[in-house]
């Protein structure tokens, strides 16, 4: 009987204390939580503002630089440019803007104006830029790169990835060099997309295109199903021991969602930040 009374007393005491404790919690913790959340959202806002301002400043700088380089290149300034100066300007343009613009028309325009020796230099510039882009794409975890020497004719057609390798996201490409173009400036290719392990379909995509030294993989690439892209670059026209011409090409597979390194820090940081703030909420 005494034990029962004691427990009832404790319950009474607790019942009296609970509203008080609740009031203390409500008075202290709820404003604290609200304050912390407000601080977080303020810091997120500040971060977004900083990033967008940085982006704007960078874009403005790039736009000015691009405008000035283009003006100089086309000679709207008083002095007519020499071939050497034009080569330097185009190299500057290409090195700084190769990820955003298709510079092929400029390369082609300048090529038509240049002498043989300078044309070689121009191709070297294009190869330098294409090489940079290939290197970037080669380092993607999910990318695949193949270098092949291709002779003209259907019978010399190649398949990449070869049969002894796994396909790239269910894709293999059959490539035929149909023609080596005038002045060895370009090659004509016939490319088919071969579905993996399908018995009733020979191919899914069939494209014919030209690849010149001025085609860059970031800009000149082809989309396939399964969020895949591929690009083909022309490295050289080579002669074998029998003086037979062939094209040395690079085939690069990469994910459709690939972003250039210049875009990636901003976007990655922002996405991470957004993910973090979502998790906190």
């Amino acid at each position: 009987m005494e034990v029962k009374n004691k427990s009832r007393d404790w319950i009474d005491i607790l019942a009296k204390l609970l509203p008080g404790i609740g009031a203390i919690i409500a008075g202290i913790f709820i404003p604290l939580v609200i304050h912390i959340n407000a601080e977080r959202s303020r810091s997120n806002q500040l971060y977004t503002e900083i990033v967008s301002k940085r982006e704007m400043a960078d874009t403005e700088l790039r736009a000015k630089m691009f405008e000035n380089l283009i003006k100089c290149f086309f000679g709207s300034t008083s002095k007519q440019k020499t071939d050497k100066e034009k080569l330097t300007l185009l190299r500057l343009l290409a090195l700084n803007f190769h990820e955003f613009f298709d510079l092929k028309p400029l390369f082609e325009e300048l090529e038509s104006e240049l002498e043989e020796g300078d044309r070689y230099k121009l191709r070297e510039i294009a190869k330098e830029i294409a090489g940079k882009q290939e290197a970037l794409l080669s380092h993607i975890k999910e990318g695949m790169v193949f270098e092949r020497v291709l002779y003209e004719g259907e019978e010399n057609g190649i398949i990449v990835p070869p049969e002894d390798m796994n396909p790239y996201r269910d894709h293999r490409l059959g490539i035929v060099l149909t023609e080596i173009g005038q002045n060895e400036a370009y090659v004509k290719l016939h490319v088919i997309d071969i579905p993996e392990g399908v018995k009733d379909v020979g191919e899914t995509t069939d494209v014919n295109f030209e690849v010149s030294f001025y085609d860059m993989p970031f800009i000149d690439n082809t989309k396939l199903f399964n969020a895949t892209r591929f690009a083909i670059t022309l490295k050289d026209i080579v002669l074998d021991k029998t003086q037979r011409r062939a094209a040395r090409i690079k085939i690069i597979f990469f994910p459709e969602s690939y972003m250039s390194t210049r875009d990636r820090p901003y976007l990655d940081e922002m996405l991470q930040q957004l993910r973090n703030s979502k998790r906190r909420m």
């Binding site: 004719g153 259907e154 059959g174 379909v201 020979g202």
Partner: protein
């Protein structure tokens, strides 16, 4: 004299016929879907070597054909195909049991 004229005209007609021929191109795949790669085949008496992905190209006269194709010494007959100049494309799957080449997309 008539025979000579007939002979010449036949030769001319033969060359004309060949000139009208189109190129038949495409791929040949095995029953399991893998390509018939780097294989010597004979299409209507013309020797052809397939490439790494089973691709082939052969010049044939225009018109409807049921092709006779020899692969590894075995003769196959294809489903009927219309060949047009300058280029006709057709992929095939080998059906060993029926000794047929089946048209595929």
């Amino acid at each position: 004299m008539r025979r000579i004229i007939f002979g010449i005209s036949m030769v001319i007609l033969l060359f004309y016929g060949l000139a009208l021929g189109g190129v038949l191109t495409g791929r040949i795949i095995k029953e399991d879907g893998s390509p018939l790669s780097k294989t010597k085949i004979i299409i209507e008496g013309r020797k052809v070597v397939t490439n790494e992905f089973g691709g082939y190209a052969v010049k044939l006269p225009d018109g409807e054909h049921e092709l006779r194709i020899v692969i590894d010494g075995i003769s196959y007959t294809s489903e009927s195909i219309n060949i047009y100049s300058p280029r006709t494309k057709q992929n095939w799957r080998i059906d060993h049991r029926k000794r047929r080449l089946i048209k595929i997309r």
